[in-house]
């Protein structure tokens, strides 16, 4: 299609670069710099989608972020991107976009039948229509709502684009590069402040791009270009276009989304698609401008009805005519500017002005140009279904209640102007209360809450001179506060046309006998009748009216609808707008893609991955890894076609029979140093620590103040005032914070220091009856006999020239040692152990075998110490000192913790000795009892006992000690299993603990 609506000599698009794109499968042309909206309008396309509820035809209403209608679905590189505003998305070669909310096509949409069923979709229809019968929910209502709801479809494929986060600090952040943004940025930058100037559109200048003004003997466009060029050249200024500051958060942190690759066919190799900026600004100037308000009349949602400022911008920026027979409907002077622009481009508009006899420079100019104007006139209703074809217009009485002389006139677009609404969203998010300004009939920010000021038309200043003066002053004032410099730039002279007052009139009454739909909220199809109904049904608070009718909700957040809604509510309620108040503005100001919010933290990058120094060896030797917190640990080492079950059994058996080695680097390690270290440990652990000799290790349990076990591990006295504490892998960070808390806040008098040494040491656990023989070969110069290095002993030794530490401790229940060397030597140590271990049938074992070994020994771990158990429950009461006080001791005497049938850890064996018991199963007396079946406790950990070759589990059950020997049932409703079991001691293997001491 040819660009019938493109003007030849006006606009800022690049005529030398033609770009083709498709809309609903049809190919169109535009120019570089066009948005989808401007390119489609140039091609005469105005039907772009269907409305949310009634599926009425939708066109373009605005030209930027305020657009309520033109929401499309973008397809590129086989990716789908929903919720694209046609007024913001720039076209690029090969762009494909589709309409949403219509089926089978935008031209013929079955859903439009809703338009005729509108009595079934009144305000709050969600709460009325879908209430009964309840059985209809799953099969009828929900699928229907799901199909009908939403704008577009999100891609479920992995998004291959890159999104980044950036943190930035500045003296002054300015949101918007209109006249006030430019002037204040210039004044502040010249005064030495570090400035960030953010503009959401591709072009800088805001209203200067479209207004007929003169600043310092230059046109508005020339002046803005000059300022931007100078700002860009300054090292203390960051200027960003296509960047929307969408959220104002605590302590002057603002978040901005920068669209770097959205306007390109393919994102550049070294650049992300979007970048999310977290900006901490000392001061903020909000210069986000204002948005034109619609006027409300019959069928005012027909394609071709749009904001007059949008029509002007399409002409001046894109060189596109929104129509060739325009009707301008206005209550203020802004509509005249659009009319004059039409006239200049050879089009004859007709102005309908609701005012009786206004006079101003601009009205005179319009008259002089020969533009036809009808005062005290309104549009009663737009006619035409998929596009405006004509309009019923009428004369309105002075009291604005009665219509007369209704006539139909031909037109192809209706440009409406209901005056301006300042964009106070960011100021409001900052915590600013707003006040209603009678002069402009809109809310403006009242008093700065954080370090922010609102300037320009966002602050209700609608003349350029006022705006520029205020902006220069504020830019200087704010920068002076920060830099204490006194470089003032001189104010340019400003020439603009003077306007007169607007008319306080927004909603055209219905003529007698007509029931046109008059829409307030275009995105959600909220009409005047819906608000009236909501009020009739008793909704008073504006927040309730919003939620009941959906006025001001969804992706445009009521940028064009809010004030007209408030005006209507206050008219009906006989109140004034400030009494009604407004709904809360919340971030984001405009929709932000989820990708930008997530940034690089996707997949494996969502958290750091920690690997032990021996990781590469594990990889080379067929380790299958498992996530243990942020660590990657070998779960088992696969031989041939082994399954997890087979491999872990083999590895565990080999530990019991010969010797195994396990990477225990991940265990938390904390150095505890200082003259009061012993006293500190004595307060932290439940057992006694004052008499632990140098060179000895001890197992300890630490509690939270509420008596619940926090962590366990061994601590070794390395020297007089130096202890080496180990924690579980999962709790390492928490334990360190816990220790620091007590040292810094509770007992600052203790002379102790703690520091994490987890990453400084690589650890290998050598376990099994052959471990001593292996150790003798590894450390030939060290006495590792039972006498030389007894159970819980510690020695420093030499491992082929490398200093090593040997702790004789055991988690597996076998004769075992843990060898630590500095991390850099971890791999060396590991390979030596594997090498020397060959003659002793050594095999590496992973976490699965490790679990098997500890479970059948009855050693507790995270699955038992789960934040609900006290020492007694885990059979650790022997470690609780009766003599001394320690963290959490007082809690242990609470009645719930001392009752005789308190839970206790036990062992569970299936009667058939073959059925594994699912972890998490309930232990019950009678599997057929009436529900809810009283549960005695739960299975915390399960394994296949390699010692007895049958399944074995640990469980924590009520009055556990007395239950030993009883036949009960393990039930897993999840796995649908009921298994008859016998309760046994949790110490299933070597209950006397002979092996560890052998």
């Amino acid at each position: 299609m040819s660009q019938d609506f493109r003007l030849d000599n006006i606009g800022m698009v690049n005529r030398n670069k033609k770009i083709s794109f498709t809309f609903n499968g049809k190919k169109y042309f535009g120019y570089e710099g066009d948005t989808i909206a401007s390119a489609l309008i140039a091609n005469g396309v105005h039907l772009i989608g269907r409305s949310f509820k009634y599926h009425r035809p939708r066109g373009f209403f605005g030209v930027g972020v305020d657009e309520p209608y033109a929401i499309l679905q973008l397809e590129r590189n086989n990716e789908r991107d929903p919720n694209i505003r046609a007024t913001e998305q720039e076209i690029f070669e090969g762009l494909e976009v589709k309409s949403v909310n219509c089926w089978p096509s935008v031209n013929f949409d079955i859903g439009a039948i809703n338009n005729f069923l509108k009595m079934f979709f009144p305000a709050g229809f969600y709460y009325k229509t879908f209430m009964w019968p309840p059985s209809f929910w799953y099969k009828i209502y929900e699928p229907f709502i799901r199909m009908a709801a939403g704008f577009g479809e999100v891609s479920i494929k992995h998004d291959k684009e890159r999104y980044e986060h950036k943190y930035e600090y500045c003296d002054l952040l300015i949101t918007g590069s209109g006249p006030s943004g430019l002037a204040s940025a210039y004044a502040a930058a010249k005064n030495g402040a570090r400035v960030i100037l953010a503009e959401d559109k591709p072009r800088y200048g805001g209203s200067l791009l479209t207004s007929d003004v003169n600043i310092g003997n230059q046109t508005g466009v020339e002046w803005s270009e000059k300022i931007i060029t100078e700002l860009k050249s300054m090292s203390n200024v960051i200027v960003k276009n296509r960047s929307q500051v969408f959220g104002y958060y605590d302590h002057n942190m603002l978040v901005m989304s920068e669209r770097i690759g959205d306007h390109l066919p393919k994102t550049q190799k070294y650049l992300p698609k979007q970048r999310l900026w977290y900006i901490r600004a000392k001061e903020v100037l909000i210069s986000s401008g204002s948005i034109e308000r619609p006027l409300v009349f019959g069928n005012n949602d027909t394609p071709g009805v749009m904001l007059s400022s949008a029509a002007k911008e399409y002409m001046k920026v894109y060189g596109v005519l929104v129509g060739k027979k325009p009707l301008i409907f206005t209550n203020n002077d802004s509509g005249y500017e659009t009319a004059i622009e039409f006239k200049k481009n050879g089009i004859n508009p007709l102005i309908l002005d609701t005012r009786k006899e206004p006079s101003s420079d601009i009205i005179s100019e319009a008259k002089n140009l020969g533009i036809e104007i009808k005062f005290s006139h309104v549009v009663v209703a737009a006619k035409g279904y998929k596009k405006v074809k004509s309009a019923d217009i009428a004369k309105i009485s002075d009291n604005k209640k009665d219509l007369s002389n209704i006539e139909n006139i031909e037109c192809d677009c209706i440009c409406v102007s209901g005056f301006w609404t300042p964009s106070i969203h960011l100021a409001s998010q900052s915590g600013n209360k707003s006040e209603f300004n009678e002069k402009i009939d809109a809310f403006i920010p009242k008093k700065s809450k954080q370090n922010e000021n609102t300037i320009g038309s966002a602050n209700g200043k609608f003349t350029l001179e006022e705006t520029i003066n205020e902006a220069f002053d504020k830019g200087y004032e704010v920068s002076n506060k920060i830099t204490e410099n006194n470089n003032k730039v001189s104010m340019p002279t400003v020439v603009e046309k003077k306007s007169t007052e607007h008319d306080k009139f927004w909603c055209v009454p219905l003529p007698k006998g007509k029931s046109y739909k008059r829409f307030l909220d275009f995105q959600n199809d909220v009409a005047v009748t819906d608000i009236e109904l909501a009020l009739r049904e008793g909704f008073r608070s504006i927040e309730h009216v919003k939620r009941y009718t959906t006025l001001g909700m969804a992706t445009d957040q009521g940028k064009t609808s809010n004030l007209n809604g408030l005006q209507l509510v206050s008219d009906i309620e006989n109140k004034v707008v400030p009494q009604v108040g407004h709904t809360t503005f919340r971030p984001p100001y405009t929709p932000v893609s989820i990708g930008a919010i997530v940034g690089r933290e996707v997949g494996k990058h969502s958290k750091p991955t920690r690997k032990s120094p021996m990781h590469q060896w594990h990889e080379k030797n067929n380790a299958v890894f498992v996530d243990a917190g942020v660590w990657l640990r070998p779960r088992y080492y696969k031989q041939g076609n082994e399954t997890l079950f087979e491999a872990s059994k083999r590895e565990a058996k080999n530990v019991r029979k010969n010797v195994g080695v396990c990477d225990v680097t991940t265990l938390g390690k904390i150095d505890v140093k200082g003259p009061d270290a012993a006293e500190f440990l004595n307060r932290v652990y439940t057992n006694a620590w004052l008499k632990l000799p140098v060179g000895k290790a001890r197992y300890g349990v630490m509690l939270r103040e509420d008596g619940i076990v926090m962590d366990d591990g061994t601590t070794t006295r390395i020297s007089e005032n130096h202890y080496h504490m180990t924690t579980t892998t999962a709790q390492a960070a928490n334990v360190l914070s816990h220790l620091e808390y007590y040292l810094q806040l509770v007992w600052p008098d203790l002379n102790v220091n703690v520091v994490s040494t987890t990453e400084q040491w690589a650890g290998a656990a050598i376990a099994g009856p052959n471990s001593r023989a292996l150790l003798m070969k590894l450390f030939p110069d060290t006495d590792v006999s039972n006498e030389g290095l007894p159970f819980m002993g510690y020695k420093e030794a030499d491992l082929f020239g490398i200093p090593a530490k040997i702790y004789r401790i055991s988690f597996s229940g076998e004769l075992a040692y843990e060898v630590n060397v500095e991390s850099d030597f971890g791999n060396f140590m590991w390979e030596k152990i594997i090498d020397v271990g060959k003659e002793f049938e050594l095999q590496p074992y992973g976490t699965e075998a490790l679990s098997t070994l500890r479970i059948e020994m009855g050693h507790v771990a995270g699955s038992e110490l789960d934040g609900r158990t006290i020492p007694h429950d885990a059979s650790l009461e022997g470690l609780v000192s009766k003599k001394k006080d320690f963290i959490g001791k007082r809690s242990l005497s609470r009645s719930a913790f001392t009752k005789p049938d308190r839970e206790k850890i036990v062992g569970v064996v299936p009667l058939d000795k073959s059925t594994s018991i699912p972890e998490g199963s309930y232990i019950v007396k009678d599997p057929n009892a009436k529900l809810p079946n009283p549960k005695l406790g739960h299975v915390s950990a399960s394994c296949w006992s390699v010692e007895y070759d049958n399944p074995f589990s640990l469980a924590i059950i009520k009055d556990g000690k007395k239950m030993i020997g009883q036949k009960l049932f393990a039930m897993s409703p999840l796995k649908n299993k009921t298994i008859p079991v016998e309760i046994v001691s949790s110490h299933y293997v070597d209950p006397e603990g002979k092996r560890v001491r052998a």
Binding site: D250, Y278, R683, E740, Y741, S891
Partner: protein, 89 residues
């Protein structure tokens, strides 16, 4: 995101800190006989005031010091921050 002045490091973003609750809670002395009620108050009972609140923050991704922060719980305004051992008037 709050901007917290760490008395050891300077102003840092909230994501470097972990919250630690009411800073006015005092742990009963060791080995002191106290009633169940007193102990329960210490372990469980916290005021949740609207307005000024003296609270603990742990600079876990910084100097690892616990600090005290006087903050308004409704406006998030931070009035003053103190070192762990600093006297508070």
């Amino acid at each position: 995101m709050l901007y917290i002045f760490c008395p050891h490091c300077g102003s840092r973003s909230q994501n470097e800190f972990a919250y630690g609750g009411d800073a006015t809670v005092k742990r009963p002395e060791l080995n002191k006989e106290i009633s169940d009620q007193e102990w329960d108050n210490f372990v469980y009972l916290r005021k949740s005031p609207r307005g000024k609140h003296l609270e603990l923050w742990h600079h876990i991704s910084g100097c690892r010091q616990w600090i005290k922060v006087e903050r308004d719980t409704s406006t998030h305004e931070i009035f003053k921050t103190y070192k762990a051992n600093e006297l508070i008037e």
